[in-house]
């Protein structure tokens, strides 16, 4: 086996790992010859040692209890609130409709403000206040008389 073959073998071990049973069948057959050399055997043992180290790192148990329950609970809370639902839709909903919906928000706010500032109703309330003030003065005048 020349140097290139050893490099190619090392690359294959790095890509597919040290467990030859997990390699694609076609590749497995091609390495039988290579593995007769001590260099290739050393590379494989080195990779097996690395895999053993990786496999010995544990994942700690779940710290919080009942993760499934918490996920399902969060889903129910989200579903219950229409505000959250709307915010979720703004954040994650259809890309096509989101800009249109966002553009609609200031339009609706503008409409609301416009209706709130009805000039007719404002004039009426001012007229009423002036009328009351006028009667107040007349009463004062009558008392003085």
């Amino acid at each position: 086996m020349n140097q290139l073959d050893l490099n190619a073998f090392e690359r294959l071990v790095d890509i597919h790992g040290s467990d030859l049973d997990r390699w694609p069948a076609a590749l497995r057959e091609s390495v039988d010859e290579v593995l007769r050399t001590t260099d290739a055997q050393r590379l494989l043992r080195q990779s097996q040692a690395l895999d053993a180290l990786l496999n010995d790192v544990p994942v700690p148990a779940t710290a919080g209890r009942d993760m499934r329950g918490r996920i399902l609970g969060s889903v129910r809370v989200r579903e219950a609130g229409w505000v959250d639902g709307f915010l979720d839709w703004i954040a994650y909903g259809s890309w096509g409709l989101r800009p249109a919906a966002l553009a609609l928000v200031p339009l609706l706010i503008g409409l609301g403000l416009g209706l709130g500032m009805n000039p007719t109703s404002t004039d009426d309330s001012l007229a009423d206040e002036f009328t009351l003030l006028a009667f107040e003065h007349i009463e004062d005048y009558d008392d003085a008389q």
Binding site: R11, V13, D14, I15, H16, G17, R45, Q46, S47, Q48, A49, L50, D51, A52, L53, L54, D56, V57, P58, V59, P60, T62, A63, G64, M67, R68, R70, I71, L72, S74, V75, R78, D88, Y92
Partner: protein
């Protein structure tokens, strides 16, 4: 998954039962913190539920989609925190004392975790998906949204970097075997 797209809660529960633990393990190895991994796993399933209608069967595998969401959330979290909070066991106070086997093993595990954490994100994810999650190179490439050649290059570089970082421990293991 098809049932989940119509917001079928029992189907969603079955998906959680099947995929929560492997996903949590992947996220723990990605971010190096158990509490963050749980939070990320929870958020991944919430996103999955909210966006279920967007999943198209035949276009992308469910696991590919799930791990893609989880990875993206982990990257976002990493950007927010700026630095990872890897849980590393404290060093013993007196190096001169004889270390028992359990402590030595814990320290070795911490070194391996640190070596994994120091890999560039894409190399680390490629390694985690293929080695720990048992994904094929095709599946892992789909999660990372890269070609299979690129995935194989990431894997190769990741394992070479780990062999270099853990050379003393690997040599020790080889002597013992």
């Amino acid at each position: 998954m098809t049932a989940v797209t119509t917001h079928d809660a029992s189907a969603f529960t079955r998906l959680i039962d099947r995929h929560l633990e492997p996903l949590r393990a992947f996220l723990y190895r990605t971010c190096g913190n158990a509490a963050d991994a749980e939070e990320l796993a929870q958020e991944t399933f919430l996103r999955l539920w909210r966006q279920a209608h967007r999943w198209q069967p035949g276009r992308v595998r469910f696991t590919t989609w799930l791990y893609r969401i989880g990875r993206n959330l982990a990257i976002d979290g990493f950007r927010k925190h700026r630095e990872q909070t890897t849980e590393v066991l404290p060093e013993p106070v007196d190096e001169g004392h004889a270390l028992d086997t359990a402590l030595e093993r814990s320290r070795l595990q911490a070194r391996v975790r640190r070596a994994i954490a120091q890999l560039p994100e894409r190399q680390r994810t490629a390694l985690l998906l293929c080695h720990y999650q048992g994904m094929s190179n095709v599946e892992a490439a789909a999660v990372l949204e890269v070609s299979i050649d690129a995935l194989e290059s990431l894997l190769s570089r990741a394992r070479r970097a780990l062999k270099l970082a853990l050379k003393a421990d690997i040599d020790y293991q080889m002597e013992g075997s």
